[in-house]
Amino acid sequence: DAGVTQSPTHLIKTRGQQVTLRCSPKSGHDTVSWYQQALGQGPQFIFQYYEEEERQRGNFPDRFSGHQFPNYSSELNVNALLLGDSALYLCASSYSLAGRYEQFFGPGTRLTVL
């Protein structure tokens, strides 16, 4: 049973560029949440997708957008990259009918903005 997978592992971009990160949830899970983890900090919630819709959103600008596909996989898009967007981006999946309390995390994508 594959756990949560994310791609790519690492990414280097320059300011102003756009980036897309991908996440495949754990088998049987239907909800995907994205978190940003700055160096030395705890993860901060970006948004959550369920039934291909954004259900909740944290305090992040509109430059951060996402998508969920019918197979429950998800993408995180960040436009007009800023130096401050450099962070580890974590995807977590959960199962709606189990209350979404227990979230399983992927290994993350390390984004560096130069």
């Binding site: 949440s33 978190y35 030395g40 919630f45 399983f104």
Partner: protein
Amino acid sequence: AQTVTQSQPEMSVQEAETVTLSCTYDTSESDYYLFWYKQPPSRQMILVIRQEAYKQQNATENRFSVNFQKAAKSFSLKISDSQLGDAAMYFCAYIRGNTPLVFGKGTRLSVIA
């Protein structure tokens, strides 16, 4: 808004000894879940232990146990018989209903051989 506070940025423990990591949280809710996650250098966030707020009994998972004090809004993690593989960042987290996980800033645990 709910907040989670971990007041110990770094802790160290001798191999085979016991260490306790502290966590406090702020909420006006009565029904919620608390978690301890471990994040080793590999970056994978691994669930260590969970506690349902409605349960008075403290959760235990092998060498890991918690001291859940609901009235004091305290949720500490005790690691017994510490092993080198326990070295990692440990995050305390809170969740209620369909709200997202709220994390503390983490405690870096070093294990000394």
